[in-house]
């Protein structure tokens, strides 16, 4: 670690992983309510578990993005962070506000939470991912502003690289795109239309710069590739993401009340959205194949490669399958959407977070890479989580298909609840695979408790003797 202030990334990463555990536990509880609707009902309504699950996801991803930015930006700018103290203060504010909000979700009914936080003064509550009460929303904006001020001042004082500038720009995008959360028209169509500015604008626009620049950064650090080459790739990936994604948002406007021209515009442009994800694969794999040096952190490279593949499968393949207007007509709002949401979020954003943590954490703990034993735990966790997530997505996709053929694309449509009962087997598979995912997460976390760094001498000796 070249700059002392990069160390502020560490609490962000640790808290992110802690919240990740919470996210998965609540996902398991929500998944359980799918197969048994009464056991938990007196204590935890499905929607409480669900909003805690999705909000924890967003909060921990933001935590890890912030940690990544605090780690990468000083290094790229070649200067200390503008204010490490401010970074630590915002860390605690963000963590405590986040924890209190989740506690609010889990301990009281949503209407009580709304009343207790004076939602009626300026209604913002009740939209997916944006369930936060008004004080939390304001807190998020203030924390983001402090974070952006800190990063921007750092970049202004230091070297302006493509990676650094784009990472900071994408964080500005995160904050700006969150602002429509305060705009909540009574007109439901305008409400949905603007809600997608945040959700689609984040995951299929602005956030795509995060994996692009972080994969670029890790490639730069581990393979000895030229910066010039990395920069070109990042720009091209970003260009493809924005050129397809800005109008690709139309795939959410087909059937919510917006005009019919979105059927065409949304289909054509969202069909191109897989391209940046494909380019990310080509970028990572060719760069690693042409590497000029071998970095001892094999686990980080595995995460990077896995992230590009899984993001492509989740966003590129599953996203494409459901994105054309005639398909959406039957798939809209089924568990096929959830299948896609899970695999895409995991592949693109969970895995880029874990890849960055994998690269940065050993350095933050004073070594270039972890011991072989620790990396073995980490890579086992990688495989168990990836395979489990593929099973989860497949089970949800199967459930979605059953809905399509029994409830929608049929001359004799059955009622929703009747169809859901026929899908029970898939919800069981999802839950069991979810337990597998949780096990994978624990295996992964175990790797942090294996002591010691990478032992170059022992490794060289072992390599010699097996030759």
């Amino acid at each position: 670690m070249q700059f002392k202030s990069q160390a502020v990334a560490k609490p962000y990463f640790i808290a992110a992983l802690g919240l990740f555990i919470g996210q998965i536990i609540l996902g398991l509880l929500a998944g359980f309510e799918y197969i048994n609707g009464t056991a938990l009902f007196p204590y935890l309504h499905f929607n409480m578990a669900r909003m805690s699950h999705t909000n924890l996801l967003v909060v921990w991803l933001l935590m890890s993005f912030m940690g990544a930015a605090y780690f990468v930006v000083p290094d790229e700018a070649q200067t200390e962070l503008y204010s490490p103290k401010l970074a630590l203060a915002t860390f605690w504010i963000f963590l405590i506000a986040g924890a209190l909000t989740i506690l609010g979700y889990l301990t009281m009914s949503y209407s009580h939470l709304a009343a207790a936080t004076y939602n009626a003064l300026w209604p913002t509550m009740g939209r997916g991912y944006l369930e936060q009460p008004l004080p939390t929303k304001i807190g998020i904006v203030l924390v983001m502003l402090a974070f952006l001020f800190n990063l921007t001042m750092t970049i202004i004082r230091g070297r302006k690289t493509t990676i650094g500038v784009l990472l900071v720009a994408s964080m500005w995008g995160v904050a700006l795109l969150y602002l429509p959360a305060f705009y909540f028209p009574v007109d439901t169509v305008k409400d949905s239309y603007s809600w997608w500015w945040i959700v689609h604008g984040w995951v299929e626009g602005d956030w795509e710069l995060v994996p692009a620049s972080l994969v670029g950064y890790i490639m730069l650090k581990t393979t000895g590739v030229d910066r010039e080459v990395v920069d070109k790739w990042i720009y091209i990936i970003g260009a493809m993401a924005f050129m397809s994604g800005f109008l690709g948002i139309g795939h959410h406007y087909y059937y919510i009340g917006a005009p019919a021209y979105w059927l065409w515009i949304g289909s054509i442009f969202s069909a191109l959205e897989p391209v940046p994800f494909l380019l990310l694969i080509v970028f990572a794999f060719t760069t690693i194949r042409n590497r000029r040096r071998d970095h001892p952190n094999k686990a980080a490279l595995l995460w990077v490669q896995g992230e590009t593949i899984m993001a492509f499968l989740g966003a590129g393949v599953l996203g494409f399958i459901i994105t054309l207007a005639p398909v959406q007509y039957y798939a809209h709002g089924t568990n096929l959407t959830a299948a896609h949401g899970h695999l895409a979020f995991f592949g693109a954003y969970v895995m880029i977070s874990l890849a960055t943590i994998s690269y940065a954490m050993p350095i933050l703990r004073g070594r270039e890479a972890n011991s072989i034993a620790a990396q073995r735990w980490e890579m086992t966790g990688f495989w168990v989580m990836c395979v489990s997530m593929l099973v989860i997505a497949s089970a949800l996709a199967a459930a979605g298909l059953v809905t399509i053929f029994l409830q929608r694309y049929t001359a004799n449509p059955l009622p929703f609840m009747e169809v859901q009962q026929k899908e029970a087997v898939f919800f069981w598979i999802r839950e069991i695979a979810g337990l597998g995912f949780f096990t994978g997460l624990l295996i992964y976390l175990r790797s942090f408790f294996v002591k010691g760094g990478y032992n170059y001498a022992a490794y060289a000796q072992q390599a010699m003797s097996t030759r």
């Binding site: 009464t38 499905f46 669900r50 009740g126 997916g128 949905s192 080459v229 260009a239 050129m243 800005f246």
Partner: protein, 141 residues
Amino acid sequence: MQTIFTKAMARNVFLGGAGFFLIAYLALSYDTWQQIPKRDHANLITPAVAEGKYLVDTNDCMGCHTINGEGAYYAPELDVSYKTYGPAFIRAWMMSQPTGAPGRRQMPNFHFTQDQLTDVIAYLQWVGNINTNGWPPNKQG
């Protein structure tokens, strides 16, 4: 990719492409904004409909249900509920929750007053009349 295609060119494609498509999106959105009030009969958003939406939002109906396909997939689509079941059934349904049927997914009782139930139903009726390009495919949602 090496020499002919320079980094400056890549950056210009990025900035130019992003700028162009942002403007295209804003122009289309402006047009959409003009059309929405006609397509969703915004003139029929009475105080009861608005109050109904507030109740739907602050009780997180979309934490279990979809409305126009958005929300959660745990419980049925609400866009069709008014047309499929009618106001009297919806009122009775909301008042009789939860069913307590063993193992079956449960819907909470929100303890709405009769007036509040009227508002929620007014909102569902309004939502059901939005021109959604023919979605959902049938009355099961």
